[in-house]
Amino acid sequence: MPDFSLTPEQESLRDAARKFARTEMAPHAAECDRTGRFPEEVYRKAYDLGLMNLNVPTEHGGSGLGLFEQCLIVEELAHGCGGMTTSIIANCLALEPIILGGSPEQQTRLLDPFCAQYQLASFCLTEPSGGSDAGGLSTRARRSGDEYVLDGEKCFITNAPHASLYTVFATIDPALHHRGITAFAVPRSTPGVTPGPDEDKMGHRASSTSTVRFEGARVPVANRLGPEGEGFSLAMRTLDQTRTPIGALATGIAQAALDHAAKYALERRTFGKPIGEHQAIQIKLANMAQAVRAARLLTWYSAWTIAGGAKGTLESSIAKCFASDTALHVADEAIQTFGGYGYMRAYPVEKLLRDAKLTQIYEGANEIQRTVIARELLREYA
C-alpha cells in the first residue's frame, strides 16, 4: 500500500520549518516586499538552524536531507514568504552541480569551507540572449595552461549580488552547441567577476537577482566540475533534482492563499451572512482546496520517485508545472475572494499572485516543462 503518512522525523522537520516561517519570515514579508530589502538577518538565522544547505551531505557541513524532506521544508518556508524561500534555497541549486559532478576532492575543498559559515552561492546558467535554450549559451571558457579564462554575461541570477561562490556554465566552443558546455566553480573573489545591480522585480522582492559579468576571469582547471562538454548534462541533472522543490515552493504559496481566503470567507459579511455561506465562494474555496492538494501530492510523488533513485524528469516537470499554475490560479481566486481589499497592498493576497507568477517562469518556464512532459509521454507511446 502506498503510504502518505509522515515519519516522526519528517513531521518534526516540517514543524521546525513551519515555526521558522511563521516567526522569522512572515512578520517581515510585507515590509521586504514593499521595500525590496534583502533580509540578510533572516537568511543568517535560516543558515544557523540548518535550513539553508538542505541537500549538502552532512559530511560536508550541510543538512543532508533527502528530496522528500527538502520539499516538506520548502513548502512550509514558502507559506511564510516565497521570495525569502527562493533566496534560502538558491544554495541548494548552486551547490547541486558540485554534489552531482564534483570529485571527492572538489567536494571537500569547495563545500566544507563554504558550508562552515553563512555564505550564499548562485547558479549561473541563464544569459541575456536566452534562458530556455540553455544549450545555446555563449559565455566562453578558453583553456590557458592550467586555467580557463571566462568571458560573457549571465542574467537573472538569484542571490548574485550577495554570493561568494558561483557555479557557472560556459562553452569551450559554441560550434559544439550543448556538447561544448562545461561547468565551473568560480569564487566571487576571482578578478574579472562582477555582479550587477539588484533588479527591480514584480515579486519575490525579498530575494535578490542580478547579472554577473565575466571578463577574463581566470579559473583553475581544478575548479572544472566534470569533464569538458559535460556541463549541459550536469545542468539538466541538477534541475532534475531542484525542480520538485520549486513545486513545493509553489504549493506553499497556494496553501497560504487558500488559508487567507478561507479565513476571510468566514469573517466578511455581505447580504447578511459571511461570504463563505454564499455558494459561489464555497465553490471557489472547494476548487482551490482541490488544486492545492493535487499540487502537494504531485510534488510528493515526484520527490518520492526521485528519492527512490529514478531520474524523475517527467514527474518533476509535471509537479513543477502543475503546482506553479495552481499557485497563480489559487492566488488569483484568493484576491477575488477578498474583493477590492484583495487588490490593496495592505492585504496579503496580491503579493501571493506576484510571487506565484515567478514559479511558472524560473527553473524552466512552464512551456518548456510541457515540451518535456509531452516528449517523455510520447516516448512511452512510440
Binding site: S12, A16, K19, D48, L49, L51, S63
Partner: protein, 260 residues
Amino acid sequence: MEIVVCVKPVPEADTRLRATADGRGLDPENVKFVLAGYDESAVEQALLLKEAVPGSKVRVVSTGPAPRTEEVLRAAIALGCDEAIWAEAPAETVADPVAAARRLAVAVRAVPHDLVLCGKQAGDDESGLVAGALGELLEIPDFGFVTDLRWDAASARFRFRRAAEAGTEHWECATPVVIGLQQAWNDPRTAKLPAILKSRKAPIARSPAPSLPDDAPRSVPERFSLPAPRTGAKMIEYKTPEDAATQLVRILREEAKVFP
C-alpha cells in the same frame, strides 16, 4: 552542576480546542502539544547554566500520556538537554498539579539534582503550583517568579531575584533548590535541524508511578468549556478617517450608550 528541568506538554498556541465527549477534558484529537513559553525559558536557563558551569548535565523530566509527553521531551533534547525521563500518567491524573508534582518528584529523586527548574506556571492551566509542590515533596526550598538566576561558584550558592509587590527581592540559596522561573537571561533558542533529527533517536528513560497509598488525584476536572463565541462585533465601513470617527462616535452614543 546537576540540573533537572520539568516541562509540560501543552496545546500549541493557535490550536482550535474542543472538549471531550464527557465534557471533562480537552479532546487531544488534532491537537499539537509543544513546550510552552515558560517551559522553553526554563530549558533555556538550564542550558545557559550548563554552558556557564563546566561539567554540568541537564536532564529533562515530564509526566503525562503518550505521545505528547514524548514529543516535548524530544523537543527539549533537540534544544540541547542531555537526558530525558518520562513518568507516564493519564492526562486526567496529571491535570491535578499535585498529582503531577508527585510523579515528577519520583523522577527527580532518582537522579542527582542541585537545581530543579520549572516554568513559573504551565502554558495551559497556568496553575503555577507544581514548583511549590515539588519543593514540598522533595523537602527542599522552592521559589516562584524567579528572574536573573545566577550561580555563584565562590559561595556555591544561587543568587536570583523575585519581583515583589513594591520592589524586587534579592535572594541567595544553597543547593538543592526548586525554581519556578519567570524569565531566562535571554530568549529561548531554536533547535537546529540536525539536532531535531538526532532527538528522534534519543533514548527516553521511564520513571515509575509513585507507590503511595493515597496517590489518587485530589482534584478532578468537572467540566471543560470554551468561552462562548463573541457576538455583536461591528465592522465600520468608511471612506476617510473622519468618516470612521463620526460613525464610531454615533455608535458609541446611540447604540452602545457609552456616553450621552
